[in-house]
């Protein structure tokens, strides 16, 4: 049994399959500040307030360390690497780590649980890439500290954007939320918190067309999508939270996906390939919560266990 991914979904699947003596190997990913790192997206967050059982909240990285330890206690194994290729056409399935051109897969498994999650989208501007680490950041919890007393911009209108904006008011003197629509996508509670925060202001119908600055961010160029008017907002920090994309490139052509690349599951956590199951954000663009990911990881583990039982010759 191989589990690819180590966020709440992958590690819950690991807890359940390890307790069922399926000896899962978790291919947990590699350190990164912006994509599919071990522990998943919660590794870049601070306090998780809505994970049941933690009435006073818990820090994201601490929660994931507990998931990991719990699965390890039942015998789950971990490999800190990225899967580079999979072959679901032959059985047992092949999973490669490292050079994907190697003829033989690194691991073979009768069943695979895919829990590779989603990553944050960036604006995709050349100036944004050039100034990454020089005012453009993918991790508010890591870098907010460097913008003490400064004016910071947050791009986006969802819960992640509001969370980042509120967090950044601990450091920034002023935080401007730049959103391309007239209203937020964020949940009511996050909207209320953001609107009530005196250090947060909003630019509506606004799209970032360029990030300005030679050595570090000095401002952003903004286009009003309603009037086509252009303006410059002088900020020293830029944090982007405009949405997510699933980490499914590895499975293209092998697993069914929707038009946005999310894996399609049916009858629980089943994919179109028997014996391959999917859970967490890689197959969910609707709920995207730690607790729903964990729940679907449990479903995938139970589905996998039953499938292995039913197809076992012995």
């Amino acid at each position: 049994m191989v589990i690819v991914g180590s966020g709440p979904a992958g590690l819950t699947a690991a807890i359940y399959t390890a307790r069922a003596n399926l000896h899962p190997l978790v291919i947990e990913g590699e350190p990164s500040s912006d994509s599919d790192q071990p522990g998943g997206q919660l590794m870049l967050t601070t306090e998780v307030e809505n994970y049941p059982g933690f009435e006073d909240g818990i820090m994201g990285p601490e929660l994931m360390a507990r998931f990991r330890g719990q699965a390890a206690r039942f015998g789950a194994g971990y490999l800190t690497a990225k899967a580079s290729r999979v072959d679901f056409s032959a059985r047992p399935f092949g999973i490669w780590v490292g050079d994907p051109e190697t003829p033989e897969p690194t691991y073979r498994a009768r069943s695979v649980i895919v829990a590779t999650g989603a990553r944050s989208l960036m604006l995709g501007l050349p100036s944004e890439a050039r100034l990454l680490g020089h005012g453009v950041s993918t991790c508010a919890t890591c870098d907010g500290f460097f913008f003490r007393g400064q004016h910071i911009a947050v791009v986006g209108g969802g819960d992640s954007a509001m969370e980042e904006a509120i967090f950044l008011t601990k450091f920034g003197e002023r935080v401007t939320v730049i959103h391309r629509r007239k209203e937020l996508r964020a949940s009511k509670i996050m909207q209320d918190r953001a609107f009530r925060n005196p250090r947060i202001d909003f630019m509506w119908d606004a799209q970032v067309s360029d990030v300005l600055g030679e050595r570090s961010v000095e401002g952003v160029r903004i286009k009003n999508v309603a009037t086509a008017e252009e303006s410059t907002l002088p900020v020293t920090g830029l944090f982007v939270a405009i949405g997510h994309a699933p980490n499914t490139d590895l499975f293209r052509g092998q697993l069914d996906m929707d038009e946005n690349g999310y894996l399609v599951t049916h009858g629980g956590a089943r994919t179109n390939v028997e014996g391959v199951f999917a859970c967490g954000d890689v197959q969910d663009h609707v709920y995207r919560q730690a607790v729903t990911a964990a729940g679907s990881g449990c479903m995938a583990a139970i589905d996998a266990e039953r499938w292995l039982d039913a197809t076992s010759d012995s």
Binding site: P31, S33, M43, G133, C142
Partner: protein, 108 residues
């Protein structure tokens, strides 16, 4: 701090980095930074595997903001490689061990 990893501060930075006889990779980090913690163990491994060829040092930006500012660090983890006291390479963001070694290769 773990074996083979040097802890730097605003006060000791200049001396340690300038007088080193091998390249020094300085990891700018902080306690609250998740990705910094992910690469900590990798840097310890790299330090042990390259004794005599590469020195690995850590600088806590929370306690040593002056040095972080001087090298325009605005995102952590940032790793800067110094050779003969000069900046030779800058790596921003957490990376896997393979990728770190690949970037460092030319200086080892």
């Amino acid at each position: 701090m773990a074996d083979g990893i040097l802890t730097l501060s605003d006060n000791t930075f200049e001396e340690e980095v300038k007088t080193a006889d091998v390249p020094v990779l300085v990891d700018f980090w902080a306690e609250w930074c998740g990705p910094c913690k992910m690469i900590g163990p990798l840097l310890e491994e790299i330090a042990v595997e390259h004794i005599g060829r590469l020195r690995i040092a850590k600088l806590n930006v929370d306690e040593n903001l002056e040095t972080a500012r001087r090298f325009e660090v605005m995102s952590i983890p940032t790793m800067i490689l110094f050779k003969d006291g000069d900046v030779r390479l800058r790596i921003v963001g957490a990376k896997g061990k393979g990728q770190l070694l690949q970037e460092l290769q030319a200086f080892l």
